[in-house]
């Protein structure tokens, strides 16, 4: 990553996160592809590694993960004011869209075309999340592609999918294991 010389503009932070809010469909990690696109690829505000840190923290702190991540990135870019911008940005589309729907289209969710469109969109979201996971693993070859990391990744997947345990439990367990046995990275790039 190159060193930034200019400060990120507050307007850019607000607009980027308004776009992310606008194009996030579904909860939680559905926003990951958009976050990567805007914050890693387009602006270089963060790295995929850091995003994972934020997600892990967001998982066991209160609040919506999308908002937590927004606050984190705003905070690291421009401090408190930046955090306020990203947080307001990510909730603005919801406020506008929901208010319009609540006023005009009280039966919005029951319109056939809306239901069909969203059934299709959910398939695309699934594909996008899978691609995001593949990218996370590939781009972190150095950190991810050793046996232990893969084992941890698979174990946390299985714990949630097959044993129905809360992700909060997984994060806390991983943090404890990391504290005890984790290794320090020489280079965080």
């Amino acid at each position: 990553m190159e060193k930034k010389t200019n400060k990120t503009s507050l307007l850019n932070l607000y607009l980027a996160f308004a776009r992310i809010g606008l194009f996030t469909f579904g909860g939680g990690y559905a926003m990951l592809p958009m976050l990567e696109r805007e914050c890693v690829d387009r602006y270089g505000w963060t790295t995929r590694d850091e995003l994972l840190n934020y997600f892990a923290i967001g998982q066991c702190t209160p609040g919506v993960i999308a908002v937590n991540t927004a606050t984190f990135i705003g905070m690291t870019e421009r401090g408190l004011l930046g955090a306020a911008m990203t947080t307001l940005g990510v909730v603005t589309p919801s406020l506008v869209i929901i208010s319009i729907i609540a006023t005009l289209l009280s039966n919005f969710a029951h319109i056939a075309a809306v239901q069909h469109a969203f059934a299709g969109i959910r398939v695309a979201i699934g594909v996008l999340i899978i691609n995001a996971v593949i990218k996370l693993i590939k781009q972190n070859k150095k950190n991810m592609l050793n046996a232990i990391s893969i084992a941890i990744c698979v174990l946390s997947f299985l714990t949630v999918v097959f044993f129905d345990l809360s992700p909060v439990f997984v994060v806390i367990a991983a943090a404890v294991v990391g504290l005890a046995f984790g290794k320090k990275e020489e280079d965080n790039k």
């Binding site: 909860g27 937590n68 699934g126 996370l136 943090a175």
Partner: protein, 187 residues
């Protein structure tokens, strides 16, 4: 006063709903039981709308419930109150992290947290794919309710987005295609 009630109730939800948007839903049912500006059947509609509009589901639910209680000002009050606790907490954690980022213990913790988080994201990917495409559940026979149209769309999109030429396309392209296909072929 309704705005004070909204502030207190949604601040509480923001503080106690740990682990993302869907965690807010049980709290909203409590609200519906407690107040007359939100009924359980309205709440079912709210969740349906929240899931079929852009934006994080938890935020959408809060916005709609707030709107129900007091119009647009209510929507704004509920949404801002919902994000305030996590905003404060993340600002504090972020300050701490930037100070201790180089700390050995912090780095060791994250070296295990990152692969674990990757697994969690994969798990949520699986949940989404299963709900939208395979619809496997312990109650039905294997693949009995699998939607073949969804499987085809899934396979085509997965291949399409991994062709080198199209890898850099905006995620929105896939979402748009899928929405159009969904409407055309009545998913």
């Amino acid at each position: 006063m309704i705005f004070l009630t909204l502030f207190i109730e949604f601040f509480k939800i923001g503080l106690f709903a740990i682990g993302g948007g869907l965690a807010t839903i049980p709290f909203l049912y409590e609200l519906a039981a407690k107040y007359d500006w939100l009924t359980p059947s309205q709440l079912a509609d709210i969740i349906a709308v929240a899931e079929s509009t852009p934006g994080p589901i938890g935020i959408n639910c809060a916005t709609y419930a707030g709107y129900n209680a007091a119009g647009v000002p209510g929507a704004i009050a509920a949404t801002l109150s919902l994000v305030l606790p996590s905003f404060i907490i993340i600002v504090i954690i972020s300050k701490f992290l930037s100070k201790y980022n180089e700390n050995t213990l912090v780095q060791r913790t994250f070296s295990v947290l990152r692969p674990a988080a990757t697994g969690l994201i994969a798990a949520s990917g699986w949940t989404v794919v299963n709900d939208a495409v395979f619809k496997l559940s312990s109650k039905t026979a294997l693949f009995a309710s699998t939607d073949i149209k969804a499987v085809i769309l899934f396979a085509v999109l997965l291949i399409f987005t991994n062709i080198k030429k199209f890898k850099k396309l905006h995620p929105l392209v896939s979402i748009g295609i899928a929405a159009a296909v969904g409407i055309t072929f009545k998913f």
